[in-house]
Each structure stands twice: as C-alpha cells, then as structure tokens.
Amino acid sequence: MLELNSVNSFYGKSHILFDVNCTLKRGEVLAILGRNGAGKSTLLKSIMGLVDVRDGSIHFEGNELTNTTSHRIAHQGLCFVPENRDIFEILSVEENLYISHNPASNWSINDIYSLFPRLKERRKNGGGNLSGGEQQMLAIARALVNDPKMLILDEPTEGLAPVIVEEIEKIISNVRSTGIPILLVEQNISVCRKVADKFIVLEQGQVVLEGSNQDLSDQTEKIEHYLAV
C-alpha cells in the first residue's frame, strides 16, 4: 500500500534522510528503529508532508504523496499520531474526537469509548488535564475515528508505565487484525518484538538494517549496537 522510493528529505539546509526505501502491505506492522536523531521522526513527517522531500517519491495505494499538503495526505487515509501526541489541550476529550470524526470510519465515537473506557470517564475533561497514558490513548483514538487506511505512530509507548504499554500493544494488534497497516517508530525493542511484522533500522538518515520479526530476536546484538551501547 505504502511505497517509499529513495526518499531524500531536508530540514532547511540540512539533509536528514538519504535514499530511504521501504514498503508496507495491507495488515502489516513495520517498525522503524534507530537512535535519537537518526531520522525516524523525519521519515514519518516526510510521509505526512511536513518535511521537504527533495528527491525520491512516496506513493500510497498508487497515489503520489510526495510534497502534497498534509490535509490532502490525511484525506487519503493516512492518520498520524505524533510523538508528543499533540492533543488539543483547550478542547475536551470528546471535542478532540469530534473534530476528527469521519462518519465513514469503522470506529464511531461510541466504539472508541467501549475500546477505551478511561476516555469515556474523562470525556468532559480538557485534553490538557489528561495523564500521559490517557493522552496517548486519545491520540490513537483520534486517529481511529478519522477513518484510517493506514496508521502512523511515532513512539507511542515513550515514557509510559508498563501497564499502559501493554494496553497500547493490544490496540496495535487489534488495529492490525482489521487489515489496517501500521508504521511504527519505536525505541523499545520488546514492544517491536510483540507487534511488528518487519523492521528497518535507521542510522544517520540511512537504512542500515532490515529484517523480519524473527530477526528482531535473532539479531538482537546487531540491532542493539545501532540503538545504544
């Protein structure tokens, strides 16, 4: 469904991504690994039209996305959950869902409430009053009601308690089982092992390693070499 062909992205003058290729099929979860500053977020932003792609192309279901405006890309069904969640703090939980809601979506706001009872309890609360975990759930929920054909998650488990991480893992598997592919930036390898079908590792803006879920366990040492120590 998604196809990136030697993508080169820039922030102003700095060249961040170098010839990145990857593909994603229906019902697949692709994890993008890499250190801070390796270009993971830039990759997602390139897909969403937030970063200048000077070379290469991005296609989704055959449509060219390269350098179109973000709202057009969102209209194609690419739903983005940014790293810092970007919940609208002055809007209530319900309003956050309401402005994103697309009647065509498989998830109605009520479905979301049964999926995330916690959000139902807090639906009148301001987005700014939510805990980190609740914000993350709301951010994912906000993407789900927007009728996603593909989900893009930027470090959804970052800074969250293990219980909530588990819950998010469940949601990811749940969405995946409906056939919606997911692009996942994640630094926590154990999460990737549980949910990802395949992975790529970015270093200094280049793909340095790719593999299947099995490789995540088999090549741990190699991957860790890229990620940290």
């Binding site: 405006t69 973000s70 709202h71 983005f80 609208f88 703090e89 002055i90 809007l91 402005i99 927007n146």
Partner: protein
C-alpha cells in the same frame, strides 16, 4: 445618579460594539498568530456601506443584513489576494502589509465619498426614546445593546458548540495538527478571517447611526480594538467581551467626569496591562 446610570448604559452600548469590533481581531490572532492592522478599515467600510444602502433605499434593516456580508466578502477577497502571502513573514512585515491595506482602503473611501463624514439616521421604528418610569433612553441605543448581546451569544455558540468553532479553537492551539486530521487549514484561515471582517463590518453598521461614517473612524477603531484585545487577552473570546465592556464603560463614565482624559486613560490602561500582565485578563499563556 441617573446620569451615572445613563452613562453606564451608554458605556454598555459602546462596549458591545467594541466587542463586535474586536472579536474578529482576537480570533484571527489566536488562529493565525496574525495581527491585522486593516481590521479597523472593515469597521469603517461597514459604516459607509450602511450609509449607501440607507441613502439609496432608506432601509436600515437591509443594511444590517447586507453590509456585514459585503464586508465579509471584502475581507475574504483581501485575504486571498494580499494578506495570505504575508502569513509566512515575520510579524513586523505582516503589520506593514496590513497597514498598507488599511491606508489604501481609507484613501479609497475618501476618493469616493470625500473626507467629510456622512450622517446615517437610525430606522424610523427605532427613532425616539423609551421611558421606564422616570428613566428615558434612546430606542436605537437600547436596540444596539440587545442586538449585539444576541450576536455575542451566536458567536459564542458558534465557537463553543459547532464543529467549525472547535476547529478554530483547535487550530489556534496547533494548526498543523488540525491539518493532519484532514482539515484544509488555509481554507479555515480565510473563512475565519472573513467572519472576523464580517463582525467588524457589523459593528460599523451599528455604529453608523450613532456616530456617522467618516474616513478616519477606521484608525480610531483599530486603536480601540487593540486596547480591548490587549486588556482582554489576545485570542480569547471572553477577553474580547469583557475587555470591550470594560473599555466602553470606562470611556463613557470618564467622559462625563474628565472628557479629555477618557482616551488617555484607556491607552494608559493598555500600556499598563502589557507591561504587567502581557497575556491580558483571559489570554492563554
């Protein structure tokens, strides 16, 4: 005492007009982070369009209906042709561009109608006074208060209870994220800009029978709108309402105590608020 009450009511009437004038400015600022120095011109042109419609048809109600739409359209046309290209520029250049627009509109008005102001008479049904016991009050001013209050409620409802309003509020917090939800942000911008202009035009319509239409009322109105927005807090609906009323009442009451000092006071208040509390009464940090 009665005089005081009279002035208080006058201040209220002035205040609601100030609110209509300022609310568009504050919301465009909140959403676009854009300061429109041409905002006062919308108010002025609103008064002139009223003058034209009333002198052609003799029907104020028609002006009340049509003039705001004309100004809203004008605002959108300006946004599309000039203003939107300045969004990417620094604040100071945005100010200069809109300053140029304001100057052009003002001179255009003088070219057409001359530098001398025009009088607009209130509708005959609202001529005269209402008497409540001993207290008398001009009918038209009473109408302005009631009508503006109604509009204030409509604007509040639109901002708080509709999807469009929620998008505007969301956009003022994080426009990029709104775009990522599939909303065409540039269109949201121009519609909001147009609605802000429409409300300023409406303020001009309501003000026309009270103070006539003159080419320099735009500059004056811009100053007032800035005071209101600064005191109330940039980007805040409630700020525009409270700020408008505070400034209106302050000006009206002061003008019976120390007429020359009325304007002095409000500008001093503005400076004091910026220095001591830059976010105003209700502005977000």
């Amino acid at each position: 005492m009665e005089l005081f009450f009279f002035q208080l009511l006058n201040g209220l009437g002035l205040g609601v007009i100030y609110f209509l004038l300022s609310v568009g400015l504050t919301i465009t600022f909140g959403l676009l982070n854009f300061v429109n120095f041409a905002h006062g011109a919308f108010y002025m042109v609103g008064a002139y369009v009223t003058f034209v419609i009333v002198s052609l048809t003799g029907n104020f109600w028609l002006a009340l209906l049509i003039a705001p739409l004309v100004i809203g359209t004008l605002a959108i046309a300006l946004e599309q042709s000039v203003v939107k290209f300045s969004y990417v520029l620094e604040h100071k250049y945005q100010i200069l561009v809109t300053l140029g627009v304001a100057l052009m509109l003002q001179e255009l008005v003088i070219m057409i109608w001359g530098p001398i102001g025009k009088n607009v008479s209130p509708p005959s049904s609202l001529a005269g006074i209402i008497e409540i016991g001993d207290f008398i009050y001009p009918k038209y001013r009473a109408f302005v208060i009631a009508f503006s209050a109604l509009i204030a409620i409509v604007v509040w409802w639109g901002l708080e209870k509709t999807k469009f309003g929620a998008l505007v509020r969301a956009g003022s917090e994080n426009a990029q994220m709104v775009g990522l939800l599939g909303v065409n942000i540039t269109r949201l911008f121009s519609i909001t800009f147009g609605l802000g202009g429409l409300l300023a035009g409406l303020a001009g319509v309501l003000a026309a029978p009270l103070r006539g239409a003159d080419p320099f009322m735009g500059v004056e109105a811009l100053g007032i709108a800035f005071i209101v927005v600064v005191i109330g807090g940039m980007g805040s609906f409630l700020g525009a309402l409270v700020g408008g009323l505070v400034v209106g009442v302050m000006q009206s009451v002061m003008s019976s105590v120390w007429p020359e000092g009325a304007s002095l006071m409000v500008y001093a208040a503005m400076a004091a608020v910026i220095l001591s509390r830059p976010r105003g009464l209700f502005g977000r940090a």
